[in-house]
C-alpha cells in the first residue's frame, strides 16, 4: 500500500518551499520531495557571494517563507532555518521518475522504487533541475563537477571548463589568475554569451590568463595513477585528439528543457515550440486534474513570483479564495481612476479599450500596469515635446490627443482610445520626433522602455504589431505628411524591416536600385570609392532615408551604404516608390531637391579629397571623410553627446578633470590623457551617452536612466555590482567612493595649492560616470573649466553630417584656426 498524502510538492526551490511551509501552517497532510540532498539547488549552484536579486521590487511577499535581496549564503541559510522552524516534512534525494493519474489519485514513483499517492500534486521543479551530464567514458570520475561553488577554493590547478555558455565562461573567468584554465567549446565561437562576458573573455585570453579550444568536444576522461595531474581529458579538436592533463573538470552543459518530463506526466502544451509554457488555468492547474505547476516551470522565473505562487496554490487547493499578491498595489495605482469598480474590472476595461494589451495574458497585463504610471492628463497638457529624450511608451485608455510632427503647430494626426504612441523613441533611442498634446481629459498608461522591451521579446504578436506601426510612423516622418492615408497604409504594408550588424552593407556602389531605405534605428555611412580607396561622404542618422539618388536618376547605386552601428532600416520597394513619386509632385520635388544638393556636396567633397590627396605628403591625411571614419570607429556613431579635446589647443592643465572631480564627489569621470587621436582631435575616455546605452542593459536595481535632454546617469540606488562597468564598451564607468570635496581658500586657488585631502571614507563603492552635469546650471564643467577652449562637447549628428562645402574638421576647429 503506497503512502498517501493530501498534497505532494515536488521540488524544494523557493516555490516548493513556500508551498510546503504554507501547507504546514494550514496543517494539511503533505510531503515535499527534493531530488538533491539539499533545498534550492538552483540558487546553491550560484557562485559563492553572488547577490540574489529580489524583483519585481514593488511586489510584496505574502508567504511565510522569508526572502529579501541578499547574498546567496544568507538566502540559503535563512531558508534552511525556516525548514527547521516549520518542521517541514521534506524528503531529500527523492527523485520522481513517474507521475500519472491513477483511478482515484495521482500516483508517484520515486527512483528508489517507492510509490506515493496524493490527491493534489504541485510541480515546482524549476528549469535548472535537469543538468546535462557528461555522457562519456570517465564522465563519473570524482574530479568532474557540474557546478563551481567557491572559485577561491582552487589554487594553482589546471582546470578544464567544458561549455561555452555564460555559466561556463563566468566560472572560467572566476578561476583565472590563480589557476590555469582551458575552456572547451563545441561551437565555433562564444556568440551565445553576454557581451560583457565575451569582452572579459577576450581580454583574459589576450593577457594569457586562460585559453580555449573551439569546435572541441571531450571524448573521454581517464584517471592517472601517478604524476602531477590526477586526470587526463581527451578532447576531439578539429586538428585531431588532444590530451589535456588536468586537476579538475567543470562541466557547464546547461539544463535539459523540462518539456519532455512534463509531457511524460501528461501535461499539454499550446505550441510545438520546445520553449513553450504549459497550459495552465488561472489557478495554476494543468490539463491533468489536480496537477498544479508553479514557479519558473510555469513561466515565472523570478523568485518572488514563485514564492507567492507557492502560497496561492495551497490556498487554491484548499478552496480558499485569495487575491493575487499585487492586487493591493494595483488598487493603489487605480486610486484616481474608476474607483467604483474592483481591480479586475478595471484591468478588463483596460484590456478591452487597448487592443495591443489584449494580446497579453492576465499576469503579464498585471505586471505591465504595476510597472507603469497611470497618467490622467487635462486638455492642453503636453505629454512630451518634439526633441525630448524620454523613452517611455504610452497606451491611450481614454481620451483624445493631437500629434504635431513639425513646427507648424498644425495637428498632423490624432490619437484616441485604444491607440498607443512613443514607439519611435522606443525603437530608435533618439529624440521624440513629434509632440503629443491632450485635447480631452485623458487616461494614459506610461510604460518604461525596459518593460516594453521585455514584452516585445516575449509576446511575438505584440512585436509584430508594434513593428507595423513603427514602419508606418517612420514612413510618415521620413517621406512627409502629404501622403494620403491610403498611400501610407499601402506603403507600410509592403515595406520590409531589415536589420544590419555594424559594418554590414545596405547596398553597394553600382548595384541595381532596389528601393528606398528609411533608417529606423542606428545610423549609416555613405561612401564611394575615390582614388582607389573608400571615402566616407555622409553620415545619416535614424529618422532619415538613403537610396533616393538612384530612384530619382534611375541609374545604379552611386555609393555604398554601410551600417555604422547595429541598424534597422525599412525598405520600400523601388516600383512602389516610383508609383508614389509619380502621383505626389510634392515628394517628387523634395527628392529632386535632395538629389541636386547631394550632387553639389559630393562634387565639393571630391575636390577636397583630390586636393588633399596630392598634398598628402605632409603625412596626416585629415580630410573630412577620414575624420568621419575615425570618429565612427570610435563609436561616435551611436553617441548622442561626445566630449572631444582639441590637442592643438590643450595646454594639459587638467582643469577639466579637476573640475569634474571637484563637482562630482572626488572622482573624475573623464580621462583627458587616454583615448585615440586623429588630426589633433582626441576622443578622451568619457561617456558618449549612447542612443541605446550599453550600461543600461543589465542594471539590477534599474539605477541607470536617461534624462529628457539625453543625459545617461546613475542614480543613488546603485548597489555597486559593476555590471555597467563591464558592459560599457568604452570603459567610461568606474567604481568609486563618492565624498564631498572641501572648498579651497582664495590663496589656495590663486596659487594653485591643493587643499589637504579629507580622510578617505570607508564608503561603499558605486558606479560613477559622466552625467553631463545635468544638475549643474550652465552645463558641463569640463568644458566650462577649460581655459583655452580645447574641450568641447558635440552632437555627432551635427558633427558628422557633412554641412554643404564646409569640411567637418574646419567646422570642428572653427574658422579662426589658420
Amino acid at each position: 500500500m503506497p503512502e498517501h498524502f493530501n498534497i505532494i510538492i515536488i521540488g524544494a526551490g523557493p516555490s516548493g518551499l513556500s508551498a510546503a511551509i504554507r501547507a504546514s501552517e494550514q496543517k494539511v497532510s503533505y510531503l515535499l520531495l527534493e531530488a538533491e540532498a539539499a533545498p534550492a539547488s538552483t540558487i546553491r549552484n550560484y557562485q559563492r557571494g553572488k547577490l540574489v536579486m529580489s524583483e519585481p521590487r514593488g511586489l510584496p511577499i505574502r508567504s511565510p517563507l522569508p526572502f529579501t535581496a541578499s547574498l546567496r549564503e544568507t538566502v540559503l541559510e535563512t531558508w534552511e532555518r525556516t525548514i527547521v522552524d516549520f518542521q517541514v516534512n521534506v524528503r531529500y534525494e527523492a527523485k520522481v521518475v513517474s507521475l500519472k493519474r491513477g483511478k482515484k489519485w495521482l500516483e508517484i514513483t520515486l527512483a528508489d522504487g517507492s510509490k506515493l499517492t496524493a490527491e493534489h500534486v504541485v510541480l515546482a521543479i524549476g528549469v535548472q533541475g535537469n543538468l546535462r551530464k557528461l555522457n562519456i567514458p570517465g564522465g563519473d570520475l570524482p574530479q568532474i563537477q557540474y557546478q563551481l561553488d567557491d572559485p577561491q577554493a582552487y589554487q594553482n590547478e589546471t582546470i578544464v571548463v567544458i561549455g561555452g555558455g555564460d555559466s561556463g565562461v563566468e566560472n572560467a573567468l572566476a578561476l583565472t589568475g590563480r589557476n590555469q584554465v582551458i575552456i572547451l567549446n563545441r561551437a565555433e565561437d562564444f556568440s551565445n554569451c553576454k557581451d560583457s562576458n565575451l569582452s572579459q573573455l577576450t581580454e583574459a585570453r589576450k593577457n594569457g590568463a586562460l585559453d580555449w579550444l573551439l569546435e572541441t568536444r571531450p571524448q573521454s576522461i581517464e584517471g592517472n595513477a601517478k604524476g602531477e595531474f590526477p586526470i587526463t581529458v581527451f578532447a576531439n579538436t578539429p586538428n585531431g585528439i588532444e590530451r589535456i592533463p588536468c586537476h579538475r573538470v567543470i562541466a557547464r552543459l546547461g539544463a535539459l528543457p523540462p518539456r519532455p518530463v512534463l509531457e511524460a506526466f501528461g501535461v499539454a502544451f499550446p505550441t510545438p515550440d520546445l520553449e513553450a509554457l504549459p497550459l495552465l488555468s488561472s489557478r495554476y492547474e494543468s490539463n491533468v486534474p489536480c496537477l498544479y505547476i508553479i514557479g519558473s516551470l510555469a513561466g515565472y522565473p523570478l523568485i518572488k513570483q514563485g514564492i507567492n505562487q507557492g502560497y496561492e496554490v495551497i490556498e487554491y487547493i484548499l478552496g480558499n479564495p485569495v487575491e493575487p499578491a499585487d492586487t493591493a498595489l494595483l488598487r493603489e495605482k487605480f486610486a484616481n481612476f474608476c474607483t467604483d469598480r474592483g481591480v479586475d474590472d478595471v484591468l478588463e476595461k483596460i484590456r478591452k479599450s487597448v487592443p495591443l494589451l489584449a494580446m497579453l495574458n492576465t499576469l503579464q497585463l498585471r505586471e505591465l500596469v504595476l510597472e507603469s504610471n497611470l497618467l490622467l492628463s487635462q486638455p492642453g497638457e503636453y505629454i512630451f515635446k518634439r526633441n525630448d529624450y524620454s523613452t517611455t511608451f504610452y497606451f491611450v485608455v481614454e481620451g483624445e490627443l493631437d500629434v504635431l510632427i513639425d513646427d507648424d503647430n498644425v495637428t498632423d494626426d490624432t490619437l484616441k482610445s485604444g491607440d498607443f504612441f512613443g514607439e519611435m523613441a522606443l525603437v530608435s533611442g533618439r529624440r521624440r520626433p513629434g509632440t503629443v498634446r491632450a485635447t480631452t481629459p485623458c487616461v494614459l498608461i506610461e510604460t518604461p522602455r525596459r518593460v516594453m522591451q521585455k514584452l516585445i521579446g516575449s509576446v511575438p504578436s505584440m512585436r509584430r504589431m508594434l513593428n507595423e506601426v513603427a514602419i508606418k510612423t517612420v514612413v510618415q516622418i521620413c517621406i512627409g505628411l502629404s501622403l494620403s492615408e491610403q498611400d501610407l497604409n499601402d506603403l507600410a504594408d509592403n515595406a520590409t524591416l531589415k536589420s544590419y550588424a555594424a559594418g554590414e552593407e545596405l547596398f553597394h556602389e553600382g548595384d541595381e536600385a532596389d528601393g528606398l531605405y528609411l533608417i529606423q534605428s542606428g545610423s549609416v555611412t555613405v561612401s564611394r570609392m575615390i582614388g582607389g580607396r573608400e571615402v566616407v561622404l555622409f553620415y545619416v542618422a535614424a529618422g532619415k532615408y538613403v537610396g533616393e539618388m538612384s530612384l530619382v536618376s534611375g541609374e545604379p547605386r552611386y555609393a555604398t551604404v554601410r551600417a555604422a552601428i547595429a541598424t534597422e532600416a525599412v525598405l520600400i520597394d523601388a516600383g512602389r516608390m516610383s508609383d508614389i513619386i509619380a502621383r505626389n509632385p510634392e515628394i517628387r520635388s523634395e527628392l529632386d531637391a535632395r538629389y541636386l544638393q547631394h550632387l553639389q556636396d559630393q562634387e565639393k567633397l571630391q575636390q577636397q579629397e583630390a586636393s588633399s590627396d596630392s598634398s598628402s605628403i605632409s603625412g596626416n591625411q585629415s580630410t573630412p571623410s577620414n575624420l568621419i571614419s575615425f570618429l565612427i570607429q570610435q563609436g561616435v556613431g551611436e553617441a548622442t553627446d561626445v566630449l572631444l579635446i582639441d590637442e592643438s589647443l590643450c595646454v594639459r592643465c587638467n582643469h577639466c578633470e579637476q573640475a569634474c572631480a571637484d563637482t562630482h564627489g572626488g572622482a573624475t569621470r573623464l580621462d583627458r590623457d587616454a583615448g585615440p587621436i586623429f588630426a589633433n582631435i582626441r576622443v578622451p575616455t568619457s561617456c558618449r551617452h549612447c542612443e541605446h546605452p550599453h550600461c543600461m542593459k543589465d542594471c539590477p536595481p534599474d539605477a541607470i536612466h536617461r534624462a529628457p535632454h539625453g543625459e545617461v546617469y546613475i542614480d543613488d540606488s546603485c548597489i555597486g555590482c559593476g555590471n555597467c562597468q563591464q558592459n560599457c564598451p568604452y570603459d567610461v564607468i568606474q567604481m568609486a567612493v563618492i565624498q564631498d570635496q572641501p572648498e579651497r581658500s582664495l590663496w589656495q586657488m590663486l596659487l594653485g595649492v591643493q587643499p589637504k585631502a579629507l580622510p578617505t571614507i570607508d564608503g561603499a563603492k558605486v558606479a560613477v560616470k559622466c552625467d553631463m552635469c545635468k544638475d549643474i546650471k550652465d552645463g558641463p564643467v569640463c568644458v566650462r573649466a577649460c581655459p583655452v577652449g580645447a574641450a568641447l562637447r558635440v552632437n555627432p549628428e551635427e558633427l558628422l553630417s557633412y554641412a554643404g562645402g564646409k569640411s567637418a574638421e574646419a567646422a570642428l576647429l572653427g574658422s579662426g584656426e589658420e
Binding site: 589647443l649 582664495l746 594653485g752 581655459p787 583655452v788 577652449g789 580645447a790 579662426g816
Partner: protein, 276 residues
C-alpha cells in the same frame, strides 16, 4: 559649430574691448591736459589709476576664478579677456604715470606690472606652439605609459644581457641603472642630456657587437633593438617633460610677480594718499 581659441573668442570680443579702452584712455589723455602737465595726481591720473588698480585686481582674480569650478559661465571667456585687457593695461598705466619715472615705489609697481604682462606674453606663445608639438611627440601614449614601457624594456634588457659577455652586460646594466630623466629644472627645460647613459649604451653596443660569438648573434640583435627602442622612449619622455616644463615655466614668473605687484600697488596707493 562654434569653436574658437582664446584669441578669437566670440569673434574677438575682448580684443575690441581692449581697443576701445585704449582709445578712450588716449582720447582723455589728449583732450584734458592739466596745467601742470600729465601726472598721476591729476583727476585724469586718478581716474586712470583707479581703473588700472581695479583691472589689476580683476586680472589677479582670474587665478582664483579658473579654479572655482562651482562658479557659472565659461573660463575661456575670462582668459580671453585676461589676455587682451591685461595687455591694454600697460598702455593705461603708462598714461596714468604721465611718463614720470624714477627710483621709487611707484615705478617699482610699474616695472612689476610690465614683468607680469611680458611673462604673460611668453605664456601665450607657449600655449600657441607647444600643445601641437606635444601631441606630435606623444601620439596616443601618455607619460605614465611610456615610463612603464621603459621599466619593462629595462627588465627585458637586463635579463638578456645576463647571457651576454661581461662588457655588454655592464653597458646595459649601467644604462638601466644610471638613466635619470628630468631631475633638475634646467635639464627639463633643455630637454636632452648630452651624456645620457642610454644613448651611450647603444653606441657601445654597436661597437661591442663585433665581438659576439656566432651562436649569440640572434640574442645580441634582440638586445640591440630593445636598447634602441629604449633610447627612443627615453628621448620621447625627455621631450615631453621639456614641453611640459616650457609650457608651465612662465608661470613661475607670472604668479609670484603678480603677488609682488599686488603688494607694491598697495604700497603705491598708500604712499600717494599719505603724501597728498
Amino acid at each position: 559649430m562654434q569653436h574658437s581659441n582664446i584669441f578669437d573668442y566670440k569673434k574677438y570680443r575682448y580684443f575690441k574691448w581692449a581697443v576701445v579702452v585704449i582709445l578712450i584712455a588716449f582720447a582723455g589723455y589728449l583732450l584734458f591736459e592739466p596745467a601742470v602737465g600729465h601726472y598721476g595726481g591729476s583727476w585724469l591720473g586718478y581716474g586712470l589709476g583707479t581703473l588700472s588698480a581695479l583691472m589689476v585686481l580683476w586680472m589677479a582674480w582670474y587665478g582664483i576664478r579658473k579654479r572655482r569650478y562651482r562658479s557659472s559661465g565659461s573660463t575661456q571667456g575670462w582668459l580671453s579677456a585676461h589676455i587682451y585687457l591685461g595687455t591694454a593695461m600697460t598702455v593705461i598705466v603708462t598714461l596714468h604715470s604721465g611718463f614720470h619715472f624714477g627710483i621709487n615705489i611707484h615705478t617699482l609697481a610699474y616695472g612689476l606690472l610690465l614683468i607680469v604682462v611680458v611673462s604673460g606674453f611668453f605664456g601665450n606663445y607657449a600655449y600657441m606652439i607647444y600643445p601641437r608639438l606635444m601631441t606630435e611627440n606623444m601620439g596616443e601614449d601618455n607619460l605614465d605609459g611610456l615610463l612603464l614601457r621603459i621599466a619593462e624594456t629595462d627588465k627585458l634588457a637586463r635579463q638578456i644581457a645576463l647571457l651576454m659577455p661581461d662588457d655588454i652586460n655592464n653597458a646595459v646594466a649601467r644604462a638601466c641603472r644610471e638613466t635619470y630623466i628630468g631631475i633638475s629644472l634646467m635639464e627639463q627645460l633643455r630637454g636632452f642630456r648630452a651624456d645620457c647613459p642610454s644613448a651611450l649604451a647603444v653606441q657601445q653596443l654597436t661597437v661591442l657587437g663585433n665581438n659576439v660569438v656566432a651562436e649569440q648573434r640572434k640574442l645580441y640583435r634582440d638586445l640591440y633593438s630593445i636598447m634602441v627602442r629604449r633610447e627612443s622612449l627615453v628621448r620621447r619622455v625627455r621631450q615631453d617633460l621639456m614641453y611640459r616644463a616650457r609650457l608651465g615655466f612662465w608661470l613661475y614668473f607670472h604668479v609670484p610677480f603678480t603677488v609682488a605687484l599686488l603688494v607694491a600697488m598697495l604700497a603705491h596707493i598708500v604712499a600717494v594718499f599719505l603724501y597728498w
